[in-house]
Symmetry: C2
Subunit: 118 residues, 2 copies
DNA sequence: CGTAAAGGTTGACAACTATCTATTCAATCG
DNA sequence: CGATTGAATAGATAGTTGTCAACCTTTACG
C-alpha cells in the first residue's frame, strides 16, 4: 500500500561491477498510478469486461433486466458487478420508473487508454 | 465464473410496456473478455502499475535491485508483484549472473489498449 | 571449499472479493 | 390499499490477494 518514491539512496554494492545503470526513476506519479489501477481493477473481471462491452456496443442505455439473462449469474451478483463498475466511474445508471438503465460513462477509461498507448 | 452467453429467452414481461428494446447481445467474446480481464487485473494494483511504468520509461532491462528501493515494500513483496506481471505476460525477466533484469513484454497490452480505444 | 549476496519460494495471516439466498425498497397495477 | 415486480442491499461463506518473516537456491568471490 505505501508508495513512497523519493530518490532513494543506492543499495550498497560492495562486490565488483554494479548490477545496472545507477539510475532511479522517481517521477512515477502515484496519484495517476492509483487512479489507473482502480479503473484496471474494476475491469479485471471477465463478467465486468463483458458488461462494459455490452454497454459500449449499445449506443444508449441498457436495462438491468436485459443484462441479467446474458450471464449465468443471479441478479444480485450482476447488480454487485454493476456497482463495482459504477464506483470506479466506468458506468453510470439512471432509474426510470421500475427499471434501472446503465450506460458507459464517457472518458472514464481515457487516462488508462492513453497510458497504455504510450 | 460461468460465462455462458447464448441467446437467452427473454424474461416474462407480463406488465405493460417492455423495459427496453428487446435486443440481446450474444456476441460478447468470452475468450477475449477473459484475456483482457487477466491483463487488466494484473495492472489493477498501484504498485504493479508503477512497476510497469518504470520499466516502460526505461528503454531496456531494469535490475530488481533498482526496483526494490523505489517502494516502501520488502523485496519478497516486490518479487511477488513482478511474478504477477510475469504470469500475465506483461513483463519478462532474464537472469544475468547474480542479478535479474525485467523488461516490458512488447504487445502484451495491445488487445486491451485497442478495445479501450474503440 | 566457505561465505556472502541477489532474489525467488514458502507459510502465515489479515483483508478483500465473488457468489448465493434472503430481505428490503420503490414503483406500478388492480 | 394490497399485491407484484425490478433492482438494490444485507449477511454468510468460500476463495483470493497483499504483505512480511523465514528459508532456499544460485552465483560470485576469496
Amino acid at each position: 500500500m505505501p508508495v513512497d518514491l523519493e530518490l532513494a539512496p543506492k543499495q550498497k554494492r560492495p562486490v565488483g561491477e554494479p548490477c545496472c545503470e545507477p539510475v532511479v526513476y522517481p517521477d512515477i506519479e502515484r496519484g495517476q498510478a492509483e487512479r489507473m489501477a482502480a479503473v484496471a481493477k474494476a475491469l479485471g473481471d471477465p463478467i465486468r469486461m463483458q458488461l462494459v462491452d455490452v454497454l459500449r456496443k449499445h449506443a444508449g442505455k441498457v436495462c438491468v433486466c436485459e443484462l441479467v439473462p446474458l450471464f449465468d449469474l443471479s441478479q444480485p451478483t450482476v447488480s454487485h458487478h454493476l456497482k463495482v463498475l459504477r464506483e470506479a466511474g466506468i458506468v453510470g445508471s439512471e432509474r426510470r420508473g421500475l427499471w434501472a438503465y446503465y450506460y458507459v460513462e464517457p472518458g472514464a477509461v481515457e487516462e488508462l487508454r492513453a497510458w497504455l498507448a504510450k
